[in-house]
Amino acid sequence: MAKKLLDILQERFGASVILETHSHVGDDTAVIAPEHWREVALFLRDDPRCKMSMLVDLCGVDRFDQLPRLEVVAHLHSIELNHRLRIKTRIGDEACNDAVVASLVPVWAGANWFERETFDMFGIRFDGHPDLRRILLYPEFVGHPLRKDYPATKTQPLVPYREGDDVLGKLAPFREDEGLSFGRKHLDYVKEDQ
């Protein structure tokens, strides 16, 4: 049952649109070329063999060591046919510029807030989104925190610190690497402009 979805996609769109597929641990996944993002989504929603009526989730992943760097991952589900699919697309260069992809709000209304959150956390812009602004963070926030080169301990003073208040001195002396990510000792996310 599950394999059919990937076959349907490949048959309909071909290898120039469906760049990669896999079914690791049973999750059917297809990597879509970014220009065809909305087209594939519409097809998946409307085709009677797929009938993906619900967009379950839409999020981003920062694949720091790959190019294109940012991934938009959408999980789809069909209530009627009870099957699931994960579609992804990869955008953005090393510095996360040109991270733009079509918005899925015209396809599923629920994509609205999910796309706003992905924009908030990664800086990915969604073309055609009716109201693309930050959702979880305040509007004056600078940066996109879930990117790997955003240090987890970065501070954002919105209101200037009071005079005489040693606020920075009271912070824990932790820097970007808190020390417990043992397995990734050799990856150096925070690159500095020297």
């Binding site: 690791h24 619900m54 379950v56 009870n82 629920g110 959702i135 305040y138 990510s181 043992f182």
Partner: protein, 404 residues
Amino acid sequence: MEPLDLEVDDSSLELPSDPMQLMMGPSHPAMHGTVRIVLDLSGETVLKADVQIGYLHRGFEKSCERGTWNQVFPYVDRCNYSSPMLNNVGYALAVEKLCGLTVPERCQYYRVIMGELARIADHLVCNAAMAMELGAFTPFLWWTRAREMIYDIFEEETGARVTHSFARIGGMADPPNKHFKDAVRAALPKVLAANAEGVSLLQNNRIFMDRTMGVSPISAADAIALSWTGPCLRSAGVPYDVRKASPYLVYDRFDFDVPVGTTGDNYDRFMVRVEEITQSARIIEQALDQMPDDGPVNVDDPRFVFPDKDDVYTTIEATIRHFKIVMEGVPVPKGEAYGYTEAANGELGFYIVSDGSGTPYRVRIRPPSFAIVGGLSKLITGQMIPDIIPTFGSLNMIGGECDH
């Protein structure tokens, strides 16, 4: 006395009128867990509503990337803090899916029972809060008392009433206590009785019905398009429940029904939750009967599960095993997985990406209430301010989960 304005013809009056903007929240008794709704009002009618969340955003997903896989459990507890056990189980199942682990049967029943108890607690408090905001204080007190009975069971089992951090990758932190089954069997009828009694006060109550029936209805198609799941979706008439559609753990061994509403209004959402409590109790009773009384609770894989503490202190092999799990984290193989369960609010999904090390590369929580609150503005547009209260209450937005 004659009305004073008898002579005045309303239509001849040209009163200037602009929509008034009202900030509702974030610090507001009815804005559960801090949400701000910016309302454009014409009189009491809502013309436009901008729901602003994020006041409880604590960087859960970023924090997960700075520890090990097992260190995520305290974080997920604090997502849906009304039913933390369901979050624990949901996350554990997602990681176990990627690792290819299946926990022993005893653990599966244990997780089911604890999860269903958490679901009951969540529904009780959601309904209680909704009723209280409409002025019905008594059911709130009764249902909170019933929730305390459930919390007592959790406290006995896990050591904490709310934030248990009790599940682990590959099992649970501890096996069930000797008197676990007795305690649950003793508490369950009392909880059900409290539920029924409270509902009897509200079900046919004129005020309650007027304020919730026909208020903020939603069609099935709209709900699906908005990515709604759980009781809110089922109240609109869509019988979708992850436990039935893609059974996980041992849910396929139980006989239970999925309550479904018709119009998707506040009343339906309330009643769906009430009925779900009864169904959860059914599941728990069957699970208690079927659950083995002995046997391992953790998977038999030394890379994932701690050894006995005695061995850790006396043998080098156990010390090394303990060291590797704690300091390096459990070795989740490289890849990605989406694990989903039926939490109290709907489909709780965890999309996890692993780079093969003991530290998560990406943990994405798909909060059911995020999608549901995304539809709130559609629901209240056209309604009046007092309608916002039961509507918002019936959606069961849990701030920790929605804002993660």
